[in-house]
Amino acid sequence: MAHITAKKHQAKLADELCKKTHFTKPEVESLLRMFKKYVPNSANLGHTHHSSRMDRTKFRDVLHNSFDMTDDMLMDRIYRAFDTDSDGFVNMEEWVHGLSVFLRGTLDQQTQFCFTVFDLNQDAFISRDEMFQLLKNSLIKQPTEEDPDEGIKDLVEITLKKMDLDHDGRLSYQDYSEAVKSEPLLLEAFGPCLPSSWARIAFLATFSEDV
């Protein structure tokens, strides 16, 4: 009986989700199946509503294996961005919603997503410090340089000059989205947080095969 309810519940969920996301119903179903495969022992938790939840390590595994992501900090941030209710786990809905933006989001959606990822302290601004954090590994350290951080600092200034349209020394979402609109290459300005095109194609291929 519980099994049947769960099935019914899942069907309903799938219906809802395919309306709200960029996926078709079979795709949603297949994504949900995939989710269950990743989190097989979800039933142990007992709750029907939060029957299956993915934790950080599992999620990072998925990002790493399916999307070739390697940057720990960014993967953590992506995990946070997926976890919209900030309960420390990614549940089914969050999973499908997240992937919808991740794989097929509109420019606006993806801009919002990236901004959230880069806004480390979630204060709705990307500050100089945050940029520094994000970019600190982006340059090869030259042993000859006196101040190894100078290049990074300069890079932060360059980015600010390019993106801080209201000149307040930090990036608001407004700044960010305007800058991305005029230069789409800046979407992932501070590091890769969206799947590369071929990783996306590969991933979409795996789950549409299920369908």
């Binding site: 994000l134 970019l135 590994n137 982006s138 340059l139 090869i140 030259q142 290049g151 300069d154 890079l155 360059i158 980015t159 000059k161 390019k162 230069e183 290459l185 800046l186 992932e188 300005a189 501070f190 590091g191 890769p192 590369s196 095109s197």
Partner: protein, 987 residues
């Protein structure tokens, strides 16, 4: 290093003293104030050479140069170099064996002999190894050829990305007994076999393997069903190297093949040959090294001995010493020749007929030049590196340097940021463009194109796209191999990337070498492929817009590439024409400009002209003539200009109503390029008489005449050309006069632009057909100007001027007097009969026919020897020349005993043969000439013998009364002579 020195005023020497009391090493000043060093022993030489260190070789060479015959110095004069058989050693030996000398003497001689033998042995060894090295550079033999081909065949196949060639094979399977495959009569010339090569990226071609090496021959000649054995390229001793130069794909792939390993596995049987080839280079090098070493040693020895035993004699032949510098020299000469050919390639001589700048006269260009636009050449010349502003580099420079540093040393994220920041500079500004290059940015940007990251590629192309507008950057991009990578990107699934890449190629491919690179790497096919992605419907979704953008960029790139003839052919083969035809239906100006631009560039090729007509593109071109966009109008007009060489096209232009918009374009007085294209189109369209009618209705004449003043030459050429065509219609001649066109036309006769002069003379000639016009021309001294153009260097101008003179003489009052007034004029025109151009000869004959109407002038030209000169021309087969030549002869007969002279000069019999010609005009003038000539009895006999009667009889039946009369007159003269003859017999 040297101890115990004695110092004098002008010399320093060691204390150790050699035999004849000379110091072993002596440095002394000679009369010229230069220091010279002389040495006496081997030890001394070793010391000196040690001091010289790195310059040891130079020192040795200097020593050799100072002692041109070292053996003679060492061993005495009897061993000095002589030509022919050298028996000195033997004689010396005998001398020793003979008794008589003192013990000491003999001992001394033995040592010398031993030394000489050593030197000779060394000499022979060296020669031998050198000979081996030379023969190692292996001329091909039938066996090596077989081996080479079999080896390369291993790597052939269908797959473009793996196999180096599609196929390589011998043209024939038959082998002669000596293993050659070429026919015996070619074997005599050294040919071994012929190899057919099918590369992936080029047309198939044929290679001759001959004993001198491999070279590409001129390929298969269908008519002969045989090869054209003439070499079409350089001889290369190595088949692989030759193929590398011919096919970029081959060069790219062959290095990836595990050639060495497979070579050994496979060719166990002919190991020796392959081994020797493989090690060639090394062997050569080693050999040379060895040789140098030996030479050094020997020199030392020789010099030493020379000082010690100046009276003793020995001698090795010194051939090898001569050999090596010669070989070197040869190499240098080759290198130099290479450099020269390269140089001459870069700076091609301007074509003789060229008008300045961008001439738009199509036919001249396609004939004399592979480039259809002259702009490309100019660009290639603009390559001197601009001096950097050295002292005050702008702050931008340092900014850019910093960004490039981040590009180099940053990960993908930093790279993107740096690329985006770079875009904020004004990339159209030259200082910025050069700054990027000077700090090494181009290398990095091009390297980025090779990465996997799409964003980096897009970012890099975004910058390259702008900076490649600079000619120097273009060249640098090509030098860095950027084109190859960009061509590869054209296959990328990402449309934005494709479009950017194509757009950048469009900028870079503005010079010849770049265009060739694009073609050789299969770029043309890929670019043509881009044209295909645009749907016909007007773009509405972003997806569609992107497709259209890709097609537009593809068209832009093709436009740049289409300036090379070979690229035009490659485009046609890749199926560009129907795609262009489809894009021509587009409504976007941004699309139409490159499409029409490409078409007008390609229209210099007859195949394209045909396709443009048959694919229905004329209609679209005419439609776009009415566009608002001046550039588009210009290209359309230009395309019509080039296409309207053909009558069908001209008719189509008229049919689609293109003449009106063309005439309308004449009102854009300020846009010279547009004007040049429009007038050009009108000129070519006016070749059809119906079109001239239409132009008349549209009052084009007045507009054209207005354009005769204050226009650049490229416009004038076309305007005058158009007027010349229009003036073929008599009413237009009057119209030109009424519009005041005669005077400016005559003034243009004083110009220097040859294309213009050809057209002006033609136009003036047409106008002179009308007596009223002629009066004006005469008043303006136009005939004298025409006459002076007979002296022009250009044969076309000469011919055209001579043609124009004909109607002038016909229609001028007192023409005879006028002609006589030109000092040296008659002599000049007669002397032109020596020209080698048929057209000049024909025109001059026509002019002479007119001049000869005046008896006095006829007398003058007879004095200048016109008769033998005309007679000499009679053997021609050119109908046009025959016609005017016969006319001239007919006219010249009426003076003195010219008739007899023509007979003496053997002009009569060839004339009779003219009657067999199919041209009626030739018949008419020939009959007239024969009639005139037949008034001399001897000529009658000659004619009769040549069988004149039968054809003349037929011509009496002609409908042409002039011909009838002349033929009849001639027959009656012959008949009369026969009667007189008979009468004489009987009486």
């Amino acid at each position: 290093m040297l101890k115990n020195l004695n110092r004098g005023d002008d010399m320093v020497s060691t204390e150790t003293i050699g035999k004849e009391n000379t110091p072993c090493i002596r440095l002394h000043k000679d009369s010229d104030g230069l220091y010279k060093m002389s040495v006496q022993t081997v030890a001394a030489i070793v010391q000196v050479l040690n001091i010289a260190r790195d310059r040891r070789l130079d020192e040795t060479r200097a020593c050799l140069e100072a002692n041109p015959d070292p053996t003679a110095v060492i061993a005495g004069d009897r061993f000095s170099s002589v030509k022919g058989e050298d028996l000195s050693t033997y004689r010396y030996m005998q001398e020793i064996m003979k008794e008589g000398d003192s013990e000491e003497d003999i001992e001394q001689k033995r040592i010398t002999l031993k030394l000489v033998m050593h030197i000779q042995k060394e000499d022979i060894d060296l020669l031998q190894s050198y000979a081996e090295a030379i023969s190692g550079t292996s001329r091909p033999t039938p066996v090596t050829v077989e081996g080479d081909v079999a080896l390369i065949k291993e790597f052939c196949g269908e797959d473009e990305d793996v196999h180096v060639l599609e196929d390589i094979s011998f043209t024939t399977d038959h082998k002669f007994e000596n293993h050659c495959r070429s026919p015996p009569w070619r074997q005599i010339l050294g040919d071994i076999a012929y190899i057919e090569v099918k590369p992936h990226d080029e047309d198939p071609f044929f290679i001759t393997a001959s004993t001198t090496g491999y070279f590409v021959n001129k390929g298969w000649v269908k008519e002969k069903c045989d090869l054209d054995y003439e070499p079409a390229g350089e001889v290369n001793s190595n088949l692989v190297e030759l193929l590398k130069t011919k096919s970029a794909k081959f060069a790219e792939l062959i290095v990836r093949q595990p050639l060495e390993s497979r070579k050994q596995q496979k060719a166990a049987s002919d190991v020796t040959m392959i081994e020797s080839r493989k090690d060639d280079a090394n062997a050569n090098e080693a050999e040379r090294e060895k040789e140098r070493e030996m030479r050094r040693k020997e020199d030392e020895e020789q010099r030493n001995k020379g000082r010690k035993e100046t009276k003793k004699h020995l001698e090795p032949t010194l051939k090898w010493i001569e050999e090596s510098p010669k070989a070197d020299k040869k190499k240098k000469v080759v290198a130099k020749a290479d450099a020269e050919t390269k140089g001459s390639e870069a700076i091609k001589p301007r074509r003789p007929l060229a008008s300045r700048g961008k001439s738009k006269t199509p036919y001249q260009e396609e004939d004399s030049f592979s480039e259809s636009s002259s702009e490309s050449e100019e660009e290639e010349e603009v390559l001197e590196r601009r001096q950097d502003a050295g002292s005050d580099l702008p702050s931008d420079y340092w900014q850019i340097q910093k960004l490039v540093k981040y590009l180099k040393g940053g990960n993908q994220t930093a790279t993107i940021i740096a690329l985006c920041a770079m875009r904020d500079f004004n990339l159209n500004q030259e200082t910025i463009q050069l700054a990027i290059r000077d700090v090494g940015g181009l290398e990095v940007l091009i390297n980025l194109l090779d990465t996997e990251d799409i964003k980096c590629k897009i970012g890099a192309l975004n910058i390259l796209k702008y900076i490649s507008k600079n000619a120097q950057i273009r060249k640098a991009i090509a030098d860095l191999g950027g084109l190859q990578t960009m061509v590869k990107i054209l296959r990328d699934p990402n449309k934005q990337l494709k479009a950017l890449s194509a757009e950048t190629i469009a900028n870079v491919a503005k010079f010849r070498r770049a265009r060739r690179t694009v073609r050789q790497h299969g770029g043309i096919r890929k670019l043509v492929g881009l044209l295909d992605c645009a749907p016909l419907s007007t773009a509405s979704t972003p997806e569609h817009e992107m497709d259209v953008e890709v097609a537009r960029c593809g068209a832009l790139a093709l436009w740049s590439c289409s300036k090379s003839t070979k690229n035009k052919q490659a485009m046609r083969k890749a199926g560009a024409i129907p795609l262009l035809a489809r894009l021509l239906k587009s409504t976007h100006e941004s699309m139409l400009v490159p499409v029409v631009g490409t078409l007008q560039e390609c229209a210099s090729e007859p195949s394209y002209r045909l396709a443009i007509r048959t694919e229905g593109m004329i209609e679209d071109l005419v439609t776009n003539l009415k566009s608002e966009n001046a550039e588009l109008q210009m290209h359309c007009a230009s395309a019509i200009f080039k296409c309207a060489e053909e009558k069908e096209t001209r008719d189509l232009v008229k049919q689609y109503g293109g003449l009106y918009p063309l005439v309308n374009l004449l009102n854009n007085v300020d846009n010279k390029e547009l004007l040049a294209a429009a007038t050009g189109a009108i000129w070519k369209c006016a070749i059809s008489a119906e079109n001239v009618q239409k132009f008349q209705e549209l009052k084009a004449i007045d507009l054209l005449v207005n354009l005769l003043n204050d226009q650049p030459e490229e416009v004038l050429v076309n305007v005058v050309g158009a007027l010349g065509e229009c003036a073929k219609d008599p009413p237009n001649r009057a119209q030109i006069r009424k519009a005041g066109g005669i005077s400016p036309l005559v003034h243009l006769l004083t110009g220097t632009n040859q294309a213009l002069l050809i057209n002006v003379t033609r136009a003036v000639g047409q106008c002179a057909e009308e007596p009223d016009n002629m009066a004006i021309i005469d008043r303006l001294d136009g005939v004298r100007l025409l006459w002076s153009l007979l002296k022009n260097q250009n044969v076309e101008v000469q011919a055209s001027a001579a043609w124009a003179i004909c109607p002038c003489i016909e229609n001028a009052k007192d023409a005879g007097e006028m002609v006589r007034s030109f000092v040296g004029g008659l002599e000049l025109i007669v002397s032109l009969l020596k020209s080698e151009e048929q057209e000049v000869l024909a025109s001059v004959c026509a002019a002479i026919a007119n001049i000869a109407k005046d008896e006095e002038n006829l007398a003058v030209i007879t004095d200048h020897g016109v008769v033998p000169m005309l007679a000499k021309l009679t053997n021609t087969t050119d109908d046009k020349l025959r016609r005017h030549l016969a006319e001239a002869i007919a006219r010249c007969c009426s003076w003195g005993n010219n008739r007899v002279s023509f007979g003496n000069e053997r002009a009569v019999a060839p004339l009779v043969h003219y009657l067999k010609s199919k041209d009626k005009h030739v018949h008419r003038s020939t009959a007239r000439a024969l009639f005139q000539l037949s008034k001399d009895p001897d000529n009658c006999i000659t004619m009769h013998e040549a069988g004149v009667v039968k054809p003349l009889m037929e011509m009496v039946g002609s409908e042409d009364t002039v011909l009838q009369e002349a033929a009849a007159g001639c027959i009656s003269n012959i008949r009369r002579l026969a009667l007189a003859n008979e009468k004489a017999k009987y009486s």
